[in-house]
Symmetry: C2
Subunit: 461 residues, 2 copies
């Protein structure tokens, strides 16, 4: 139902990483004479690094605008009809059109498309609790959220902060708040922080965070957020006790923002994300693609769909979608579950499957945990690191790696990420020709030490 | 020809990384009641990190003994009959025995073996030039060499140093001498420093070294080393001019120390190294193994034998040899040519094939070179890095990566090392799930940026 003369129209819903990468790549594939590109974004910004918000809040990044990879003006200069502050309110898939509302005026109108990209991102989980919307309680999903939090930090009467959640965002926000001079308490539902790690590795993070002066409260359910006479947040209550708070940061995760897709009858997975094929096409829909934080992705190790909201995947999705929507061919084969993070000088990394992931999909495994150092032991700055490795029984195939250490620890997980992608066994990994010189590694890289031990355990089987 | 009652004897020739790793691993496999292990070492030390010598000379490592991974006493305590200051002077392969000479007394005797490990290491190339043996001219192959150089640095009347050679040892010694307060001139035969890189990448190293205050003299052949009235080194002469020198360090590479093996008729390759099978057995000899700096290794990318003297390979060889000589089974499949180094804050890495290596084996390739940063561009400490990537035409198989940058550059080469081992194409690499967070990487890791560009070039092919 193309109403425009000759050229086709690509409509993009959502103007952050996945959406605008797709738009930009589609534009590279096809010029404005062939393809019209209309992008709707309900906020004020495009193509920004949500992952950078903790560092802006903490002060390591001085300016909000540093987080913006490409401004609306830059997109428009490349021939993308970008409509800011315009929220898509309905996808009419059978009619090939979307309804959009001007956020400021409330005016609504329909826009038809030949090809559609859904990049509606994620929404933060907010606890359904009394006080959860009180002034002084903040999420950190958008640049606007970040600015609001910064305003609160500046005005706060005291220096006590409570972070709810101890995943990536929680621990990164703990660092940011320390950097801003706050006393930080992290309240965590799980047994240990960083539930993306096995608990034995999370325990190392726990201890290191305490070493940084952070108060960790594990196994804690927030029951209430109490406010003072001024209506502002004052205390976070859990079943373990109450924690005074001049500011509360919610870092309890995000969910795919797929209300529109659900209403349009598009296929959603068990985690609530859109389901796509390898070309990032929404399953069963030849001319609709979806990517970024609103989709589920295939975990190549477990063979199952997973929800992994991460900017780096969103950018890859956008690239693949833009290529396909622009008439080319590209695929996103899946993820292996790599993630890296830091809290002050503590580095945390993981890839592949945890023990419980392996069990869930029926894999039997061996695990080993080793201690090594980032550099030759005698070289200045050598710092300890712990590497845990999972390998499948019998086959010895690498299943996952978790690393907790200091400088030089986190990015070593890339070795395992490539090995997982290639399906290497831990025995094969023992022979990997990794970079060695005393300032960079012990003569046996920590990943090789773990692989040797894992290979021995598999052989003993 | 076993003369001892019942138990077999393993003789190890050479007591550094490969030899003593082999001895230790064989001991783990078999106790003293089953296997006698005799190791001959002509020097004073065992199991030390030759790679660490530049950092000891430079002062980053305070004590020589920090470089010794395991002392003679520790080896003896594990049931290894270690004979220091005892040089093997002949291998009698048909007779199953070795002749050894006590370096101090000159006394010689034969020792029979059931199994033999040859780990004679490398000898530094010394130019056949007048003055090359003058006081103040130093190699840096052994701990004794390092001590002699340190003594010279302490006593030197001036602060001018000339390093001959601009490979790994040359550039690392340049750093060490800067750290000791010397003015450093590097005299280099090649077009650019670091001939293990393509010249375009070597050019980046050249500029960076000049930025560090090092005087680089390329395309320069040393013609003479001139001494003063006291007989000590005074000047290094090349066809380009003369360079005053209070100390000269030779870093012009090493050759396999295979005189004994050659005399015994064992098979040597084109680079003068022993040839082994995948179990590190000397070809054609069931009960003789060789490893470390005296062997050639298979480059898995070129399919050809190569000489790569590196401590990390020596350790792996020792592990494999010890397992096999101890009655187990292990193999060393080969290398992909990974090496990392640094000069002050400059990091240099390479893996796989250079352009000339690819041409030599008949491979056609595409190359790309990209600029990126070690962290998200907005994150403090993000430093620039240049990544060059080679991919095979048509197949798109990764052939090699070279990286020159600052902090966080060198170990990224491990991503490519694993990809080479697994035979990934650059197109496959574009989807690698590498660790991303702003303190660790841009949203597209520099290696992914290079892979994307290389993949596009292969497709355009």
């Amino acid at each position: 139902m193309s109403v425009h003369q000759g050229r086709e129209r690509l409509v993009v819903v959502g103007g952050d990483a996945a959406g605008m990468s797709a738009a930009s790549q589609a534009r590279r594939m096809k010029g404005p004479e062939e393809l019209e590109i209309v992008a709707f974004e309900r906020g004020h910004f495009t193509s920004y690094s949500a992952c950078g918000i903790p560092y802006w809040v903490g002060g390591a990044v001085a300016e909000r605008d540093a987080l913006i990879a490409r401004t609306p003006e830059e997109h428009r200069a490349r021939g993308i009809d970008l409509r800011l502050r315009t929220e898509v309110t309905e996808l009419d898939v059978s009619g090939g059109r979307v309804r959009a509302r001007d956020v400021d005026s409330g005016a609504e109108s329909w826009t038809s498309y030949d090809r559609l990209v859904i990049a509606t991102g994620a929404r933060p989980v907010r606890p359904e609790l009394p006080g959860a919307d009180a002034p002084g309680v903040h999420g950190v999903q958008t640049l606007d959220d970040g600015q609001a939090l910064l305003d609160t930090l500046t005005r706060a009467r005291g220096r006590r902060a409570v972070v709810v959640g101890a995943g990536y965002i929680g621990v990164e926000m703990a660092e940011a708040l320390i950097d801003r001079g706050f006393e930080v308490t992290v309240v965590n539902r799980g047994q240990e922080p960083m539930s993306t790690l096995d608990p034995d590795m999370g325990r190392l993070v726990h201890r290191a965070m305490e070493g940084l002066g952070i108060t960790m409260v594990n196994d804690a359910e927030v029951t209430k957020i109490l406010t003072g006479a001024d209506g502002r947040v004052r205390t976070v209550a859990t079943q373990h006790g109450e924690y005074p708070a001049d500011v509360v940061v919610l870092g309890i995760g995000v969910r795919p923002e797929t209300a529109l897709a659900r209403a349009a009858g598009l296929p959603l997975g068990a985690h609530g994300g859109l389901l796509t094929d390898l070309a990032m096409r929404v399953r069963g829909h030849e001319n609709i693609w979806a990517g970024g934080d609103c989709v589920e992705v295939l975990n190549l190790v477990s063979g199952q769909e997973q929800y992994v909201p991460l900017g780096t995947h969103a950018n890859k999705h956008g690239q693949v979608i833009g290529t396909n929507a622009g008439g080319g061919y590209a695929t996103f084969p899946g993820v292996v579950g790599t993630a890296v993070s830091k809290v002050c000088d503590l580095e945390i990394a993981r890839t592949g499957l945890r023990e419980k992931d392996a069990r869930r999909v029926g894999l039997r495994y061996e695990t080993v945990t080793i201690e090594s150092t980032s550099r030759a032991g005698y070289y200045p700055g050598a710092s300890p690191m712990t590497v845990k490795m999972l390998a499948e029984r019998r086959t010895g195939r690498l299943l996952g790696v978790q690393i907790v250490g200091r400088e030089g620890a986190a990015k070593r997980v890339d070795i395992a990420a490539v090995a997982l992608t290639a399906g290497l066994t831990v025995e094969q990994m023992t022979a990997l020709d990794l970079g060695y010189a005393p300032p960079f590694s012990p003569v046996w890289d920590p990943v090789l030490v773990a692989a040797r031990k894992a290979a021995a355990k598999v052989r003993e089987g």
